[in-house]
């Protein structure tokens, strides 16, 4: 076996034995992403459902001014009306959660409605950080009353509902379901795999560069017959592999997570299944390759420069933020892949992944993005090689 292979094998063994890191890089994404995208919405809909159906007490002031409205509201399930409270004390009662809200009917309410005017109705509630459930439920109840009154008015005026609709728009969006879903939700996928690729490559890069300095093993390795380039390539191979695997597990996590979302319409599920096919996944994986090469080269350069693991960590952490921003571009609607954006590193990956998912990617763009990223990856690797050969870097005093 050649020396690159020997070094690669040893570093791989070394990293694979670090169970904790392995768990956080590879296993963790597959568990945490489904929890995030499947679990949280599930919990939220559960809470929302409960809030919309639980018993609430609503105080009414001026019930005598519109018995009709009162009877409509009290016909709604789980809304209990309370009549004998003072108007001044309402807010205190609501704050103390003794009642959930209140409505106030003005004296002239019914007369205004009957004389074709616009009557005012007051709703009082406390809404902060919840789902505004009380407000929504009251509005639903009151709208029932409003609709009744509207229908009455139209009858009195001898107008049919369609008389009030001079134009009806017929929509035809020629975008396929795949395009719509791919473009709307497709930004998430590159965001996930770009970040995971970085994080997955980070720990091995720190350990195999700065860690080697800190342990005092770099000297003996440099004094071995292995050449600098061989050492670099062996280490670099393991780091890229981990970045790549971590990115893949991020993608897997996203796919697993999709299965957990139960309350999405069947046709969207169908489209999602259409998107997840061999060609799409192969193209996405192809895009992950240059990203992991680039990240590994950059991370290893910093890691070789640092004197200790800790220093390396503090050097590398800011890069994390530098990557989040371009990785998020895919989630911003309106930014499209063109020959210019295809040349911006990471941004291009983020945008083209969206196109790949939407099925609208062109071969030309694919080639431009891939070759520009490969070129950048090679340049960064050449830089790392030059950097690793500098005595000032390796023996930085």
């Amino acid at each position: 076996m050649n020396r690159i292979g020997i070094i690669f094998q040893k570093e791989l063994k070394d990293m694979l034995r670090d169970r904790r890191t392995l768990f956080f890089m590879i296993v963790f994404p597959i568990i945490i992403i489904p929890l995030l995208i499947g679990g949280i919405p599930k919990v939220m809909t559960g809470i929302m459902k409960e809030k919309m159906t639980e018993e609430i007490s609503i105080a009414v002031i001026g019930s005598e001014y519109s018995p009709e409205l009162i009877s409509v509201i009290s016909s709604v399930d789980s809304i209990n009306l309370v009549f004998n409270l003072e108007e001044d004390s309402l807010e205190v009662f609501i704050r103390n959660k003794e009642i959930d809200g209140a409505i106030k009917i003005p004296k002239e309410f019914t007369d205004t409605i009957e004389s074709f005017g616009t009557a005012e109705l007051y709703m009082i509630y406390l809404s902060s950080g919840d789902f505004e459930a009380v407000k929504k439920r009251l509005e639903i109840a009151v709208n029932m009353f409003i609709n009744e009154k509207r229908a009455e008015r139209m009858e009195r005026l001898g107008v049919q509902p369609q008389d009030l609709e001079p134009v009806i728009i017929s929509h035809k969006n020629i975008a396929t379901d795949q395009e719509q879903i791919g473009k709307a939700a497709g930004g998430w996928l590159p965001y996930m795999f770009i970040l995971y690729c970085f994080m997955g490559a980070m720990y091995p890069a720190l350990d195999l560069g700065a860690g080697e300095k800190e342990r005092g093993t770099i000297e003996t390795l440099l004094a071995s017959p292995a050449g600098r380039m061989e050492i670099l390539m062996g280490k670099f191979g393991v780091i890229s592999l981990f970045g790549f695997l971590s990115a893949i597990s991020g993608v897997l996590g996203l796919i697993v997570g999709l299965q957990f979302i139960t309350d999405i319409p069947a046709e969207i599920v169908e489209t999602a299944k259409e998107i997840i096919q061999v060609k799409t996944i192969a193209l996405i994986i192809l895009m992950i390759v240059p990203v992991s090469v680039l990240f590994s080269a950059v991370l290893l350069s910093f890691s070789f420069y640092a004197k200790s693991f800790k220093e390396a960590q503090s050097l590398v952490t800011p890069i994390n933020f530098l990557i989040i921003v371009p990785a998020m571009v895919g989630m911003i609607p309106g930014i499209e892949l063109n020959w210019k954006t295809a040349l911006i590193p990471i941004v291009n990956i983020s945008l083209i992944s969206k196109d790949i998912l939407a099925g609208t990617v062109s071969l030309g763009m694919l080639l431009e993005v891939f070759s520009s990223m490969i070129l950048l990856a090679i340049v960064s690797l050449v830089f790392t090689r030059w950097w690793f050969n500098r005595e000032e870097v390796i023996f930085r005093g």
Partner: protein
């Protein structure tokens, strides 16, 4: 055999170092200044000098980790700049802060270096069993290095250094910071290497160690060689009673 001719090493100073040096315009510092010496097989060569004299820089250049600014180093007749890989094949290197990979077992660690040195499996198996017996390592070769005592780790380091049976062995202050037992193990290793006819070079600032071990010495101060000959010649021409005092006398007593 190691032959060092007119060896010079300059380091560029960074901004911080320039500031600290007092003279901001000094861009370079000469760490090793036209040093020449010879280390012969079957003899122990001691490179002696205070901290900052340039010992580590010389040894790192011999091990091809650093490139000389000028001058030549021949190791087993191979030029260290032209054929660094051939030089490293003939070399074992051990320093006092040499570390090991915690997550590997002792045997994996040693095998890694055997593989890097291109040892054939039958040769490796024979050599490792020799070393395991000699260093009494059989009991722990399959344990992870993280779980070994410092004495055991020391043995792994020694085995790692000489697994490929190199004709030249470089020790950079090998005993600094070690307890008596560990130091003893290193001293035994140095003596064994000599008895096997290897060329041994080691650096130290402990005079008793130098006196007990060395056949030849070079005294280094501020990157220059003050004395280079056998230890007997040195002792014969001493003007003070101990090696330590003579060393201080020669170097003028200041440490920088």
């Amino acid at each position: 055999m190691i032959e060092v001719q007119q060896l010079t090493k300059e380091f560029n100073l960074n901004r911080k170092q320039r500031k600290e040096s007092g003279n901001f315009h000094t861009r370079k510092v000469i760490a090793v200044n036209k040093v020449s010496f010879q280390c012969r097989p079957g003899r122990i060569f001691g490179l002696i000098g205070p901290n900052g004299a340039g010992k580590t820089t010389i040894l790192r250049m011999i091990a091809t980790m650093l490139r000389p600014t000028s001058g030549t180093i021949l190791i087993q007749n191979e030029d260290s700049v032209k054929h660094p890989e051939n030089v490293r094949k003939n070399l074992g290197f051990l320093s006092n802060n040499t570390g090991l990979y915690d997550r590997l077992t002792a045997e994996e660690m040693i095998k890694y270096y055997a593989d890097l040195n291109g040892m054939e499996p039958p040769k490796f198996i024979k050599r490792k069993s020799e070393l395991y017996r000699l260093l009494q390592m059989e009991d722990f070769i399959h344990r992870r290095i993280a779980n070994l005592s410092s004495g055991m780790k020391q043995k792994v380091s020694i085995a790692r250094t000489i697994i490929h049976n190199p004709p030249v062995v470089v020790f950079d202050e090998p005993t600094t910071g070690l307890d008596v037992l560990s130091s003893r193990a290193i001293v035994e290793l140095i003596l064994r290497c000599r008895d096997e006819g290897k060329t041994v070079i080691f650096s130290s600032h402990r005079m008793t160690e130098v006196e007990n071990l060395c056949d030849d010495i070079a005294i280094l101060h501020r990157g220059k060689i003050f004395f280079h000959d056998t230890i007997e010649t040195f002792k014969n021409q001493m003007k003070t009673s101990t090696l330590e005092e003579e060393f201080i006398r020669l170097t003028g007593g200041d440490d920088r």
